[in-house]
Symmetry: C2
Subunit: 300 residues, 2 copies
C-alpha cells in the first residue's frame, strides 16, 4: 500500500493525487501546503485524505513524496524534505518546469544530491491554478520528462516513472540541460511572448471598460494565441528567472526574425516575407502532424 505526500496541493499536485488514487497506484494521499486555505480546499474536494500537521509528519508517513510547488521554491522545499531524512525506501520527485536550476539548488543546499530524488516535469498545465483547477485527467496522454543525474538511483527513477505511467502519462528521459533548452523554446518563450503581446494590447484597452471596443476584434485566433497569457505571472516570473540563459537565447533568435520581417515589410520585399512565413508554417505542420502540403486554394 503506497502513501503519497503531495507538497503543494494546486493544479499539478492536486491532479496527480486525484489520478494516482483513481489508478490505484496510490492508496492514501496526505497533503501539505504553505497555504492553509488551499489545503482545506484540497481536503474539501477529496484531493487529499488528510492534511499533514507539518512537513516532517508528512514525510514520515509517506512512501512517495511529490513536491509540486512553484519553480522558485522547489529546491528549498526538496531540501526541507530531505532534511527530515526520508528512509532509503522512500522516493521524492518534483514537477518544476526547469530542471537544472532546481537540481543545482538542491545539490548546493545539501552538499550532495540524494539518490532517492528524481527530477521530473509533466508537460501539462493550464492558465488556471489552485486545488479548484485540479483535474483527474490532466496527465492523460501527457509527456513527462525525468532528468536523472549521475547520483540518481535507477530504481527510484523506475518507481517514479511507474507512478506517472499509472496516471496515463508517457515518460521520457532527457538530460536536465537538454530538457531546459527545449522547454525554453516550446513553452517559456511562448509564454513570455504572449504576455508581451498582451502588454501591447493593454495600451489600447479602455481602462475599466466592461465592454471594451476592442472585444469584437478578438476572434478565435486571438483567443488561442493569448490563452497562455492568462497564466499566473508570479509562477512564470520564477520559471523565466530559473531558466534565463536558454530563454534569453531563444528570445534573441525571435527578435532577430521579427527584425528581419520588419525590414522586409519596410522595403517591400514581400516575396521574401512570404518565404519566411512558409518556413514557419511547414514547421508548425510538421509538429502538428499535418501534411505540410495539404489544403486547397479556393480563391479567385
Amino acid at each position: 500500500v503506497t502513501t503519497l505526500l503531495v507538497v503543494g496541493t494546486g493544479l499539478i499536485g492536486g491532479s496527480f493525487a486525484l489520478a494516482a488514487r483513481r489508478a490505484g497506484s496510490v492508496a492514501r494521499v496526505i497533503g501539505f501546503d504553505r497555504s492553509a486555505a488551499a489545503l482545506t480546499e484540497a481536503q474539501r474536494r477529496g484531493i487529499v485524505d488528510a492534511a499533514a500537521a507539518d512537513l516532517a509528519d508528512g514525510v514520515a508517513a509517506a512512501d512517495v513524496v511529490f513536491v509540486a510547488v512553484p519553480t522558485g521554491s522547489t529546491g528549498a522545499v526538496l531540501a526541507d524534505v530531505f532534511g527530515f531524512g526520508p528512509a532509503p525506501s522512500q522516493v521524492v520527485f518534483d514537477g518544476a518546469s526547469v530542471k537544472r536550476a532546481v537540481i543545482d539548488d538542491l545539490r548546493r543546499r545539501l552538499g550532495t544530491l540524494p539518490s532517492g530524488y528524481v527530477p521530473a516535469h509533466p508537460m501539462a498545465g493550464s492558465e488556471r491554478h489552485g486545488p479548484a483547477a485540479a483535474s483527474v485527467d490532466l496527465f492523460a496522454d501527457c509527456d513527462v520528462f525525468v532528468t536523472p543525474e549521475p547520483e540518481t538511483s535507477a530504481a527510484a527513477v523506475e518507481r517514479v516513472a511507474g507512478l506517472w505511467r499509472s496516471v496515463g502519462a508517457r515518460v521520457r528521459e532527457a538530460s536536465g540541460a537538454n530538457h531546459d533548452a527545449m522547454v525554453a523554446l516550446t513553452s517559456h518563450l511562448p509564454h513570455l511572448v504572449a504576455y508581451a503581446y498582451m502588454r501591447v494590447v493593454a495600451e489600447h484597452l479602455m481602462p475599466d471598460s466592461p465592454d471594451d471596443p476592442l472585444l469584437p476584434y478578438a476572434g478565435p485566433g486571438f483567443r488561442d494565441f493569448t490563452r497562455i497569457a492568462g497564466s499566473d505571472a508570479a509562477m512564470w516570473r520564477q520559471i523565466v528567472e530559473a531558466n534565463r540563459g536558454p530563454v534569453t537565447a531563444h528570445l534573441d533568435a525571435l527578435t532577430q526574425v521579427l527584425a528581419r520581417l520588419r525590414s522586409q515589410i519596410a522595403s517591400d520585399r514581400f516575396d521574401e516575407l512570404q518565404a519566411e512565413l512558409e518556413v514557419g508554417r511547414r514547421a508548425y505542420r510538421s509538429l502538428s502532424g499535418a501534411d505540410a502540403n495539404s489544403g486547397e486554394e479556393g480563391a479567385t
Copy 2:
C-alpha cells in the same frame, strides 16, 4: 427570391453560401472561382447550385455578389464585377481582412466608389482553407464589421448586414481606418509573431524526421499559441502587405516590450518583469471575460 453569386468558393465564401441557404436568406447560389478544381469541389459538396460560365454571367444572374477572394486580389475582382455593371438593385460586398487598401484600390480602378459596394469583414477564419474547410456554422456568434464610405448606400449596408445576421453573425460598423488598426493589433500581429516564432522553432527541428525529438515538448500551450501559424502563408503575406502601416506600428511596440523584458532578465530585475507580465495577464483576463483577480495559489 435571392440569388447569391459567391466569387471564391473557399472557406469564407463557401461557409457563407452554406449558411445563407440554410437560413433561407438566399434561395440559390451560383459559384465562380479562378480555380476550376475548387469550383468543382464546391459543386460536389453542395456549396453552390451552379457554376457560372464566367464572371459576367454570374453577375448578370445574381441579386447579391460576395467577393471572397484573397485580400490582394479583392480590389481587382470587385472592379471586374462592377465592370459588368450590376443593376442599382444589386449589392456587392467583400470579406477581405483589410478594408482601406481594398476600398482605395477599387476607387482608384473605377475612378469612383459604387454606392452598391459594402466593405465587410467577418472575424472568422481557420488555419484550413478551400471548399473542404467550409462550414455552415463558421459565422455563428461571429462579429462582422461593415466599414461604409461616404459613397456607400445605407440601403445596401442594411441589406448586407441582414444577410450576415441571417447566418448568425453580429454586425458592427466602423471606419475602415479604425477597423484596420484594430485587426492589425488583434489578428495580423499575432499571425506574424506566431509565424516568426515557428521560424525560430524550425531551426531546432530535425529535417525530415517524422518523429521529431522536439515533439514531446510541444504541449497544449504550444499548440494553442502556434495554431494560427498553420494558416496559408500566401494569404497572410497579402494581408500584411495591404495593412503594412498599422502592422508595422504594432510590431514596433511589441519589439520594444520584448527588449524591455530582455533587459530586465539580463539585469536581474525580475520584480519589474513580473509587473509587466501581470499587466499583460490583466489585459488578457479583461478581454477573455474572466475576473482578473480570481484564481487561487495552491503552492507551498
